[in-house]
C-alpha cells in the first residue's frame, strides 16, 4: 500500500512537488505521467525516504517515510531513473551484493537471483560482467535488483525505456504477473500506451501538482467528453447529418462530418445507437459501419495539459 497525503518538497526557492496526494492499494498499478521536471522522480525519492518531505506525509507498506526510513526502504523495490549498475561486477555477484544488503540468506539470494534472471531471459548472462550488457539487459538487471528482496511495493521509474519491443513485453508481462501477487506499483513513464496497458489508475503530474487522477475511463469521460461514434454510409450523406442533429437532438451531438461519414457524441451508445440506425433506415441511408472512435491516453493527456494551461482551469479531478 502506498499512501501520500499533501506531500510537498521545496528546494531552496523552488517547489518541486506541491501537495501530492495518492493512494495505491495492494494489487493496483498507478501510472504517474508528466513531462520532464514535473516532479515524478522527486515524488518517488520521497516515497523511498531518500528525500525528506518539506511538508505532508507518506507511508509505504504501513511505514512512515520520515519516521521509519529504513523500514520503508526494506519494503520497497526501486527502479531508479538511471540504472547505476556496477559495470565491473558479474551479474550474479552484483545481485548477491544487493541480496546481502537486504540480509537475504545466501541460498535464498542465489535462488531469487537465478530465478528472476531466467524470468527476464537473462539466465545465460549470470556470469557475464555487467559492462558487457546491452542497454535493455542492463534495464532488466536493474529491475531484477528491485525485485530481489520480494518487496510488497515497487516504484518503477521508466521501467521499459531503452528496451526493444520483445524485452518491453517481457517486463510488462512480469509486472502483470507481479500485480496478481498483491503488490502495489507506482510506475512513472512517458510511454502512454504502456501506461494505458498496465495501469489501473493514472495520475498526471505537472509543475509538481497532480492535475488529474483516475482510471482511464474516468479520465477519458472527464477530459474528452461522451463517447465518440463514427457512422459511414454507402454514398454521400445527403443531409443525413443535419437530419440526425434535428430529429435526435438531446440524444447526440454532431462533432464532425465528411462526404460519407459523420461523427457524433452520445452519452449512452448502447441505447442511442439503435435509434440512430433506425433513423438512417427510415431515411434510406445505407449504413456501412457504425463504430466507436478510440480515444487514447495521449488524447486525454494532451487535453489535461491544455486545460491545465488555461488560466481558468478548474481544480484537478481526483
Amino acid at each position: 500500500m502506498i499512501i501520500a497525503d499533501r506531500l510537498t518538497k521545496d528546494f531552496d526557492n523552488f517547489r518541486a512537488v506541491d501537495k501530492v496526494s495518492l493512494k495505491v492499494a495492494p494489487g493496483e498499478v498507478l501510472a504517474m505521467l508528466g513531462p520532464n521536471g514535473a516532479g515524478k522522480t522527486t515524488t518517488v525519492r520521497m516515497m523511498t525516504s531518500i528525500l525528506a518531505p518539506s511538508s505532508g506525509t507518506a507511508s509505504i507498506a504501513g511505514f512512515d517515510v520520515v519516521q521509519q526510513p529504513e523500514q520503508v526502504r526494506a519494503h520497497v523495490g526501486v527502479l531508479t531513473e538511471q540504472h547505476g549498475l556496477y559495470e565491473r561486477m558479474r551479474a550474479l555477484d552484483y545481485l548477491d551484493f544487493f541480496g546481502k544488503v537486504y540480509h537475504l540468506p545466501r541460498q535464498l539470494r542465489r535462488q531469487r537471483a537465478t530465478e528472476l534472471m531466467e524470468r527476464f531471459g537473462l539466465g545465460h548472462a549470470l556470469q557475464q560482467r555487467v559492462g558487457t550488457f546491452s542497454k535493455g539487459m542492463k534495464q532488466k538487471l536493474a529491475l531484477v535488483r528491485a525485485m530481489l528482496h520480494d518487496p510488497p511495493v515497487l516504484l518503477l521509474d521508466e521501467p521499459t525505456s531503452a528496451m526493444d519491443p520483445q524485452s518491453a513485453k517481457q517486463v510488462r508481462d512480469a509486472i502483470i504477473d507481479l500485480q496478481r501477487g498483491e503488490r502495489a506499483f507506482l510506475i512513472t513513464t512517458h510511454n502512454l500506451t504502456e501506461a494505458q496497458m498496465l495501469a489501473d489508475r493514472i495520475a498526471i503530474i505537472r509543475h509538481g501538482r497532480i492535475i488529474a487522477n483516475g482510471s482511464f475511463d474516468e479520465l477519458s469521460r472527464h477530459f474528452t467528453g461522451d463517447p465518440l461514434m463514427e457512422l459511414r454510409t454507402n454514398g454521400a450523406l445527403n443531409g443525413l447529418a443535419t437530419d440526425l442533429s434535428n430529429q435526435l437532438n438531446g440524444l447526440l451531438t454532431i462533432e464532425d462530418k465528411g462526404l460519407n461519414w459523420v461523427r457524433y457524441r452520445t452519452r449512452d451508445p448502447n441505447t442511442n445507437n439503435p435509434i440512430v440506425l433506425a433513423r438512417c433506415a427510415e431515411l434510406g441511408a445505407q449504413v456501412v459501419t457504425l463504430s466507436p472512435v478510440t480515444r487514447t491516453l495521449e488524447d486525454i493527456y494532451l487535453q489535461v495539459v491544455v486545460e491545465d494551461e488555461t488560466p481558468q482551469s478548474e481544480s484537478p479531478m481526483s
Binding site: D12, A52, H75, Y86, V101, H103, L104, A142, M147, D177
Partner: protein, 509 residues
C-alpha cells in the same frame, strides 16, 4: 522458474531485511558489506592495482638503494648522522606514496559513484547514512593502507638484509606506522568533504588540492623533524611526531564528523550541479546578523537588535561560552601551577622592579604615547581575533582554544611570579581595570569563533552544513559588531587612560 505472482507479506522475505544484530555491531556488519564490494571492485581496476604493486614491491628497493648511496656519500664527508636519518625518512615516504592513492580511491568512490549515478540504488536500500559512509571510508583506506604497510615491511626487510647497518628505534617505526594511518584517515575523510561539494570527479580533483597541499606541507614538516629533532634517537619516539599524530587524529575525527554530517541522502541527491550561490549565502549571513529568532525575523531597529537579537544568539552560544570559560580557567591554572615549579620561577626582586615599573608607567602618561597605545591595543587585539577566526574556520574551531588561551596561560604564570615577589597588588592594578571589559570581550569572541568553526562538525537537525554555517557566521558577525567591538574599544580606552594611573597610585604607595 520463479513464481513472481506469489504474494509476499511483511513476514516473509522482507522481514529478513532487519539485521540480526543491533547498535554498532549492526552498523559495522552493514558497513563491511559495502567495504567488501568496494575493495573487490578496486582490485578489479588495473589503474589502482598497478601503482599499488609497484609502490609495494619495487619502490622500497629503490628507496633502500638511495638510502645506501646517500649514507655512503655523506659518510665520505663525515656526516653519517644525516645519512642515518635518511633511513626513517624514506620509510615514511615508502609508506606515504601508496596511501596517496587513497585520495584517488576516495574521490572515485564518492564523486565517481555520484557521477555515474550508481549511488541512488544504494541509497534506496535500508542501509543508514552512517553505514554507507563508514563502509565507503574503509574501502577507500584499506587497499592503500595494506599496500603502504606492505611497502614499509619490504623496506624494513631490505634494511635487515642490506648493507646498511643502522636499525631504526622500534618506537620510531611505530610512530611512522601511526603517521601513515592518520594521514590516510585525514586524506580520505577530507576527500569526502571535498566530494560533497562537487558532482564531477574533475571538479573534485581540482578541489583535492585543499588536501594535497596541506598534506605536502605536513610531510615536509615531519621530514624536517626527523632530521633535526634532538630526541630523534629517543626510545620514546620523537615528541614532535607524537604531537603531529595526535593533532592529525583530532583533525581526522573532526573530518569524520563533518563527512558523516554531509554524507546524507538529502545532500547527495539534492545537489545536481556545481553551483556557488554566493548571493544567497551572503543574504543568509545578513539575515542572521539581524535576526531575532530561528526563522530569521529581522530586528525592528538598533534597540530591538540589542534587546532581542543579541540575547537570542547569546542563548544559542551558552555551551560554547561555558566551554570557553572552562578552557580559560584551565589555561590560567596551568600557567599558575607552572610558575610555581622551581625551574620556571623568575628571579624577581620587589624593590628593583617597582622602580622599573614606575619609570615605564610615568612615560605612558604622555598624551602622544596614549593615542598611539590606544590604536595599538585595538589593532593588536583585533588582528589576533581575526587570525583566530580565519584559522578556526579551517580547523573546526580547534584554534579558538589554542591561541586566545595562551594569554590566560601567561597571566596565570605572571600572577604566580608576582605573588612570589610580593607584587600581587601591582598585578591586579595592571590587569583588573581594563579586564572588566576585556575578559567578557575575549570570552564572547572566542566562543563565537569556536562555534563558527565547530558547527560544520555537527549541524543542527534539519539544516544542511551550508545552512548551519552561514547562520552561525552571521551570528558570529552579530556578536562581533554588537558586543566584541564595543567592548574591545572600551577595554583599550580603560587600558590606556585608567590602568596607568591606577598602577602609578599603587606603585607610589
Amino acid at each position: 522458474m520463479a513464481s513472481l505472482s506469489q504474494p509476499t507479506t511483511k513476514g516473509s522475505t522482507v522481514a529478513t531485511a532487519s539485521a540480526t544484530r543491533s547498535g554498532w555491531g549492526k552498523t559495522m556488519q552493514n558497513a563491511l558489506i559495502i567495504t567488501q564490494r568496494e575493495v573487490r571492485d578496486s582490485f578489479r581496476d588495473w589503474r589502482i592495482v598497478a601503482p599499488i604493486l609497484i609502490l609495494t614491491f619495487l619502490f622500497p628497493f629503490l628507496a633502500q638503494f638511495v638510502a645506501a648511496q646517500f649514507a655512503g656519500f655523506l659518510a665520505g664527508y663525515g656526516a653519517e648522522l644525516i645519512g642515518e636519518r635518511t633511513i626513517p625518512f624514506l620509510l615514511m615516504i615508502v609508506g606515504f606514496f601508496p596511501i596517496s592513492i587513497s585520495l584517488v580511491i576516495a574521490l572515485e568512490t564518492f564523486v565517481g559513484e555520484k557521477e555515474r549515478r550508481s549511488l541512488e540504488p544504494l541509497l534506496s536500500t535500508p542501509l543508514s547514512n552512517t553505514e554507507l559512509y563508514i563502509g565507503k571510508t574503509l574501502a577507500a583506506m584499506i587497499p592503500p593502507l595494506l599496500a603502504s604497510f606492505g611497502g614499509m615491511l619490504v623496506y624494513l626487510l631490505t634494511l635487515l638484509g642490506g648493507e646498511l647497518a643502522w636499525r631504526p628505534p622500534a618506537m620510531l617505526i611505530v610512530q611512522i606506522f601511526l603517521l601513515t594511518i592518520v594521514q590516510a584517515l585525514v586524506m580520505v575523510t577530507g576527500a569526502v568533504v571535498v566530494s560533497s561539494q562537487t558532482t564531477s570527479t574533475r571538479a573534485a580533483n581540482l578541489l583535492a588540492s585543499f588536501i594535497v597541499i596541506p598534506m605536502a606541507l605536513i610531510i615536509n614538516g615531519e621530514s624536517i623533524i626527523m632530521f633535526l629533532a634532538p630526541d630523534a634517537e629517543s626510545p620514546q619516539g620523537i615528541g614532535a611526531l607524537w604531537a603531529i599524530i595526535f593533532g592529525m587524529l583530532i583533525v581526522a575525527i573532526l573530518l569524520l564528523r563533518v563527512g558523516n554530517s554531509i554524507f546524507n541522502r538529502e545532500e547527495l541527491l539534492g545537489r545536481e550541479i556545481d553551483t556557488l550561490n554566493l548571493v544567497g549565502a551572503i543574504r543568509r549571513v545578513g539575515t542572521f546578523i539581524i535576526a531575532v529568532n530561528e526563522n530569521g525575523t529581522p530586528a525592528r531597529n538598533l534597540l530591538d537588535w540589542y534587546r532581542r537579537s543579541i540575547p537570542f544568539t547569546l542563548r544559542r552560544m551558552r555551551v560554547a561560552i561555558g566551554l570557553t570559560v572552562a578552557v580559560f580557567a584551565l589555561a590560567f591554572s596551568a600557567g599558575f601551577v607552572t610558575g610555581q615549579q622551581p625551574q620556571w620561577q623568575l628571579p624577581l626582586e620587589g624593590a628593583q622592579n617597582v622602580e622599573i615599573a614606575l619609570q615605564v608607567f610615568e612615560g605612558i602618561e604622555q598624551q602622544s604615547l596614549q593615542t598611539t597605545a590606544l590604536g595599538f591595543i585595538i589593532w593588536q587585539n583585533g588582528r589576533v581575533l581575526l587570525l583566530t577566526l580565519l584559522l578556526s574556520i579551517f580547523s573546526f574551531g580547534v584554534t579558538a582554544f589554542i591561541i586566545p588561551p595562551v594569554v590566560y596561560l601567561l597571566l596565570g604564570y605572571l600572577l604566580s611570579q608576582m605573588l612570589n615577589a610580593g607584587l600581587q597588588d601591582l598585578f591586579f592594578a595592571a590587569t583588573l581595570p581594563h579586564a572588566i571589559a576585556e575578559i567578557p570581550m575575549i570570552i564572547l569572541a572566542t566562543a563565537a569563533i569556536f562555534r563558527v568553526g565547530a558547527i560544520v562538525t555537527l549541524p543542527p537537525g534539519g539544516q544542511t552544513v551550508v545552512q548551519a554555517w552561514t547562520q552561525t557566521f552571521g551570528e558570529t558577525l552579530k556578536i562581533g559588531l554588537g558586543l566584541v567591538l564595543p567592548l574591545m574599544i572600551l577595554a583599550a580606552l580603560l587600558e590606556t587612560y585608567l590602568t596607568p594611573p591606577v598602577v602609578l597610585s599603587v606603585l607610589s604607595g
